[in-house]
């Protein structure tokens, strides 16, 4: 069936398009206007903005730690309304089903869960399989695992580590590799309470720097399109700007993605010894084109922090709101779940909010910086529309700033920044950039051959309202959202890479599991049969 979206304002930065045009699609793909054929279905979208479906590059939507958070905080997600027909559990708050519905309503069609522990990969995939409509992907976490740390201690070859990385990514069915406080989770098991870039993991004799550099290199070697996704040391600590700057230097010009950098943009100025260091971090990112970042912006409200940085989460426990949490020492990273409330009246929280916006506004190239609130760590993904609006209006920011504690404005440059994002830049940051970051050749763009994931927003002055409720969303060419409501479920795919490697590593790993755990390594497999048709994989090509 040929469908046409007629007369909309198309914003498609990959193809340099920013103007009124018609979009045609058929059988799930965008097609060139077919000469001599009338569309079977025609939608008049004049007065609307047409973009590719948005891509969220980092959002904690599935897996054991997220599920622990659900169980920890029943009071946070009481449901309040019944669902529409054909969308089971879509109003069950914080359920996987609701997650798919809410993303779709905002015009997001692909979301990456960034923290899958290898031994819990099947669990994560089961949850992703129960997220309707959108396509999903994930990142595998290494960097606190005994096999890697042991290999580094023994000075093993880069080839062996590359094979291990490729094998683990393939076995866990993800899009690449994430490293979370490299060595820090293991150090915490050995009773260290802080862990910096050049501190040594006891027993292994390797530093954080060595760990992530080896993984960064391996990721490049095996051709995984997404560069190493790094959650740095010292998250959330005053003065940690130094860690961030030193980490960027440590990348030595090779591609690397730094996660939720707002949480690393802190100086020690002012009477509270806590200030925004976002300008220095932004300048460093502007000068290092090999680096991409997502912001992890803070938005005010009640939330919960979910992180595989167990050391950091343990240290956060004393400030939990409400006062409870889960600390899980996993086989490698594990995880910590600590509820928190960001308050506009709280000096520290207000600095965090401002630092996030400064980063968005001071990083010049929208292809280097991505939308995230590190859902739910800085705030839930449902705050994205407000965040889009804040980036698009200096006047709106000024109104918010009036409500901050007065001394905050002395510790951030936000009041002096006049930049306003255009829709084109928003599309760069939320569509074109993320596709490039993950090596998606046919997403985040609207030219012929691309997947017909399309978001249509009614133009209005209230930008948050515009992005909160898409007028139409098509997923693989099927209409799934109309006037901000999900009308039906479709089944999304799970995107993965399959990097090549020397299969000899499998034998070695088999022996390692037998010896260490007295268990067959296959117990941790994620066979497609286990997903029972709930998840379908789609492959993203690796670089040759």
């Amino acid at each position: 069936m040929l469908i046409r979206l007629r007369g909309g304002h198309v914003v498609d930065p990959v193809n340099g398009v920013d103007g009124v045009a018609d979009i045609y699609f058929e059988d799930g793909r965008i097609v060139a206007p077919p000469p001599g054929r009338e569309p079977d279905e025609d939608h008049d979208v004049s007065g609307h903005i047409v973009m590719a479906g948005a891509i969220d590059i980092h959002s904690h939507i599935a897996g054991g730690n997220v599920n622990s958070a659900r169980l920890l905080l029943p009071e946070m997600h009481r449901s309040i309304r019944a669902r529409l027909a054909g969308t089971p559990l879509s109003t069950a708050k914080w359920s996987t089903f609701e997650t798919g519905r809410l993303y779709a309503q905002m015009g997001f069609t692909t979301v990456v869960e960034p923290a899958v522990a290898p031994h819990h990969a099947l669990h994560a995939h089961l949850e992703l399989g129960d997220v309707p409509i959108i396509d999903k992907g994930a990142l595998t976490v290494l960097g606190n695992d005994d096999f890697l740390l042991g290999a580094l201690r023994e000075g093993e070859s880069e080839t062996a580590i590359a094979d291990y990385v490729a094998q683990t990514v393939e076995a866990t069915g993800t899009l690449g590799l994430k490293c979370i406080n490299p060595g820090g989770a293991d150090a915490f098991k050995q009773n260290m309470r802080a862990f910096g870039l050049d501190e040594i993991v006891p027993f292994y004799g390797v530093t954080s720097r060595q760990i992530f550099k080896s993984l960064q290199k391996a990721t490049q070697t095996v051709g995984i399109p997404h560069p190493l996704h790094l959650h740095m040391n010292n998250l959330g600590i005053a003065g940690n700007i130094e860690t961030a700057l030193a980490t960027i230097d440590a990348a030595e010009g090779l591609p690397m993605h730094l996660a939720h950098v707002q949480f690393y943009a802190y100086g020690v100025d002012g009477k509270n010894a806590f200030s925004s260091a976002a300008p220095a971090l932004a300048a460093k990112i502007n000068a290092n084109k090999n680096i991409t970042v997502d912001v992890g912006a803070v938005m005010f409200g009640d939330t919960v922090t979910i992180s595989s940085d167990v050391l950091r989460q343990f240290n956060s426990l004393s400030g939990a709101i409400p006062k409870k949490g889960v600390i899980f020492d996993g086989d490698a990273n594990g995880g910590g779940v600590v509820p928190y409330a960001y308050r506009i009246s709280n000096y520290y929280n207000a600095i965090q909010w401002a630092a996030g916006l400064e980063l968005f506004l001071l990083i010049d190239d929208p292809l280097q910086v991505f939308f995230t609130t590190d859902h739910p760590n800085g705030g839930p993904f449902t705050t994205y529309p407000e965040l889009f609006a804040l980036l698009m209006s200096a006047e709106l920011r000024a109104r918010w700033m009036e409500r901050l504690p007065a001394d905050v404005l002395e510790m951030t440059t936000l009041p002096s920044i006049n930049r306003e994002y255009s829709l084109y830049e928003i599309a760069l940051m939320s569509r074109a950039g993320p596709a490039r970051l993950y090596g998606f050749a046919d997403r985040g763009r609207l030219d012929a051959g691309s997947i017909a994931d399309i978001a249509v927003y009614k133009q209005q002055t209230d930008k948050a309202g515009m992005f909160r409720n898409a007028a139409y969303v098509f997923k693989d060419g099927e209409l799934v959202v109309r006037d901000g409501s999900v009308t039906r479920y479709t089944k999304g795919k799970t995107l993965r890479v399959r990097p090549g490697y020397d299969r000899a590593i499998e034998k070695r790993l088999d022996a390692y599991y037998d010896q260490l755990y007295g268990l067959s390594r296959s117990i941790f497999d994620v066979p497609e049969a286990a997903l029972a048709g709930r998840s379908r994989y789609a492959e993203v090509a690796c670089r040759k």
Binding site: L71, A92, I523, D525
Partner: protein, 373 residues
């Protein structure tokens, strides 16, 4: 004799008499669809079975509960009121230099416990060390682990809460009302806990109550002030932990959740299976116990009950449909105690029996069209 065995092997019975699967599914659909507030209970099932059962309860606007919810909720009450420290049995195996075993009957709740924890072997991660093992409140003669010198702190079931409280007090340097001799013994144990490098407490919620688990976790929190200490919980029977996890991602809540208003509401009292049946609030039930055919907990159900269980578990009254045993008769995903993660168990003895999910799908396929999706 031949007749009896055919009947025992029958895939479906009504009031003990063999009926065709087709009739059974048809009847089950009628019973469940006609109910005002149907209960999906037992839920002794693999993940796919639980997914199907929860979606069924939601579609019918009924409620669901698991047969071992009491045990899951014992730990969960502590999680949601105070929080929890946990690790995996494998991490305990490779790293824990001290194991504090709490309560009696641990090998009953988890037969492979000591094979997995390997307390007789030295630790591997963080350096090689011999383990120290302290068992609080074992039954007489129970505290024996091959190759391990087990120190015991005696306590009867009734004494266990008080002994745990006293141990926690001594860890924190607080006074207790115990005799000098008893205090001395506890002090030695407290000192051992404090000097552990990476200690683990191992308990089964089935043998404790929430206040005891909270006492234990409170002690673990205090121990983490100076060293590392965490816990290894032993989960409930019949797939309880896997169903709990599935329920959490699907609805946000654990079992004992109802959909009467069209969205999930969790209430551990209101949606308890036995209470719903005995009070008459539920007017039909689907009882699922695919692992071992455990019978329902309620007395004299006056309501129509559809049972899904292994072939040998056919009920004398009501409708029974045989299903395979998850991970035994069919490949099934479940929560593995030994890895503390979801795993695929391959069938060891494949059988021509429907899976729980297939049986529910067959029932759902026979609902009349006036039941919306």
């Amino acid at each position: 004799m031949v007749e009896t065995s055919v009947e025992a092997m029958s895939n479906a019975t009504l009031d003990g008499k063999s009926i065709s699967s087709e009739d059974a599914y048809e009847q089950a659909a009628k019973i469940l669809q006609a109910a005002n507030f149907p209960l999906v209970a037992g839920l002794g099932a693999d993940v796919a079975g639980a997914q199907a059962a929860i979606l069924l309860a939601e579609r019918l606007r009924g409620a669901f509960d698991h047969l071992a919810s009491r045990d899951s909720l014992t730990d969960l009450e502590v999680v949601r009121s105070a929080g929890i420290f946990v690790t995996t049995p494998n991490e305990a195996r490779v790293r824990a230099d001290l194991a504090l075993l709490v309560g009696s009957g641990l090998t009953g709740y988890w037969p492979a416990i000591f094979e997995r924890l390997a307390l007789d072997k030295e630790t591997v991660h963080g350096g090689k060390t011999k383990r120290r093992v302290i068992w609080v409140g074992p039954k007489r003669g129970e505290a024996k682990i091959e190759g391990v010198e087990v120190e015991t702190i005696p306590a009867t079931e009734a004494e266990l809460p008080g002994v745990l409280a006293a141990l926690r007090a001594r860890v924190g340097g607080r006074p207790t009302a115990l005799s000098a001799a008893a205090t001395k013994k506890l002090d030695a144990a407290a000192e051992a806990l404090k000097s552990a490098r990476f200690g683990v407490a191992v308990w089964a919620a089935a043998g404790l109550d929430s206040l005891m688990v909270e006492m234990l976790q409170g002690m673990i929190t205090e121990l983490n002030g100076t060293t590392r200490f965490t816990g290894v919980p032993i989960g409930g029977r019949s797939g309880a932990t896997g169903v709990l996890q599935t329920s959490a991602w699907m609805t946000g809540f654990p079992p004992r959740t109802g959909f009467g208003r069209g969205y999930p509401e969790h209430d551990a009292w209101r949606f308890e299976a036995r209470r719903l049946v005995e009070s008459g609030e539920a007017d039909a039930a689907l009882w699922i116990s695919a692992y071992d055919g455990e019978p329902p907990p309620w007395e004299d159900a006056d309501i129509p009950v559809v049972t899904l269980g292994p072939p040998g578990a056919a009920t004398k009254r009501g409708l029974f449909i045989a299903v395979g045993k998850p991970g035994e008769n069919y490949d099934a995903v479940e929560f593995a105690q030994e890895t503390s993660s979801m795993v695929l168990r391959r069938a060891k003895a494949p059988a021509e029996l429907p899976t729980v999910a297939e049986a529910i799908a067959a029932i759902s396929a026979r609902f009349s069209e006036d039941l919306p999706c």
